[in-house]
Amino acid sequence: MDKIVTKALSLFYGEKRILKEIDLKIPQNNITAIIGPSGCGKSSLLRCMNRLNDLIPESRIEGQILFDGKDLYAENTDVVEIRRRIGMVFQRPNPFPKSVYDNIAYGLRINGIKNKKKLSEIVEKSLKDSGLWEEVKHQLNTSAMELSGGQQQRLCIARALAIEPEVILMDEPCSALDPAGTFKIEELMIKLKQQYTIIIVTHNMQQAARVSDFTGFLYLGQLIEFGHTNQIFTIPEHKLTENYITGRFG
């Protein structure tokens, strides 16, 4: 089943067209990687999917994005609710300057959960789901800023999980991490896909190959090729894809 479908999606910043008529189907409970050289529009594509581009003045889209079959850009869409259901993890770990506990509880409180027992339960579950619990269970009250980069990133994932999203968008989630931190996030992604649909944007092709089930190759705002990751990395259909993944350009 397709969780998100884009139909002839174009994105403009002012007069400049960033994405050109992208038709893409993101299958549920899979990891989809979007790869492509810098500036090809992959982060912009990701940010269309939880309407984060709305925050950029003069940005507009043409075409459609369907989320569970419903138009994400329909007039009556609750954008806050969309961003709850479609969570996001960014390139640099961006924990709040608060305790580990409060980093997760913060979003929950905003969503109206006040009961302490309930809050603690969700905090623990989110930290367990993000593979961080064993490392931080005795320091829930210390500042999140004291955690390592990799731990901070998993905390951000825990924070995203706490509000029970259906989709997790990851924008270069490992680019600021060392190999061990990267490895843990990748293992985590594989576990999380049982419950969530994950879309990852990465310039690290090896990472896309390792973790994803499907891969899309974006070039100059166009989706050149989309398919099973195995196929893309063994017998890509397009010469451009082949040239990019073999390092001939980009």
Partner: protein, 221 residues
């Protein structure tokens, strides 16, 4: 995918290789049985079932290629995938040798055998054991056993020598037996080649475990 999933994939591939090994050992045994019992229907079945062995090999190869392309294995992980690729190729060729024996059954038709089959079934039994134990050694990453199995090839070579000399004497004695004796020699040759292929597998196991390529046993043929 990463580490845990990669390990699982390798385990699955190993299972597929073992089931391919079973298909091949069965084909070898059945082909010699068909030769003994002159069962042409069974021979035809063996020939058609060789396609399944070939298909299995392609499946394993495709999965290995996918793992190399997507998981970038290095060191032992890479040697494991290379071993799986090579061993599946050797097993596939063994299947072809079993098919070769089945074709001989058909070529012989109803013609009587020039001699009772004694050494050829012995060669088959020996080859059968070598294949099975080499695959066990692969699963256990047991280089010591792999080296030992290689040396058993000498016994198969010795039996082949014996069959060769005996069949040659039949041909010299009575040229009318030349065609039938040659067929049996081909059958024995197929078995000799199977044992050689087992030594390839064993050398691959040693490479997997130690990282060194060694020519362990040089076959006489």
């Amino acid at each position: 995918m990463v580490r845990e999933a990669f390990r699982e994939n390798v385990k699955e591939l190993e299972q597929e290789l073992l089931s391919m090994g079973e298909m091949v050992t069965r084909a070898v045994t059945r082909s010699v049985e068909a030769l003994k019992s002159r069962d042409m229907d069974e021979a035809k079945r063996i020939i058609s079932e060789d396609l399944l062995i070939n298909k299995k090999r392609w499946d394993i190869e495709e999965k290995c290629i996918n793992l190399i392309a997507t998981q970038q294995p290095v060191a032992t992980d890479l040697r494991e995938i290379i071993a799986l690729l090579n061993i599946s190729t050797d097993l596939e060729r063994m299947g072809d040798h079993a098919e070769g024996i089945a074709k001989i059954v058909i070529m012989l038709g109803d013609e009587p055998l020039v001699k009772p089959l004694i050494d050829i079934p012995q060669m088959a039994g020996k080859a059968f054991g070598m294949i099975k134990r080499s695959l066990e050694a692969f699963v256990k990453r047991d280089a010591k056993t792999a080296r030992e199995i290689c040396h058993e090839d000498d016994e198969v070579d010795r039996l082949y020598d014996q069959v060769y000399r005996e069949l040659l004497s039949f041909m010299l004695e009575d040229p009318k037996t030349i065609t039938r004796a040659t067929y049996l020699m081909w059958a024995a040759h197929n078995l000799e080649r199977i044992a050689d292929r087992v030594t390839n597998i064993c050398e691959r196991i040693v490479f997997l475990v130690t990282g060194t390529m060694e020519e362990i046993s040089v076959s006489k043929y």
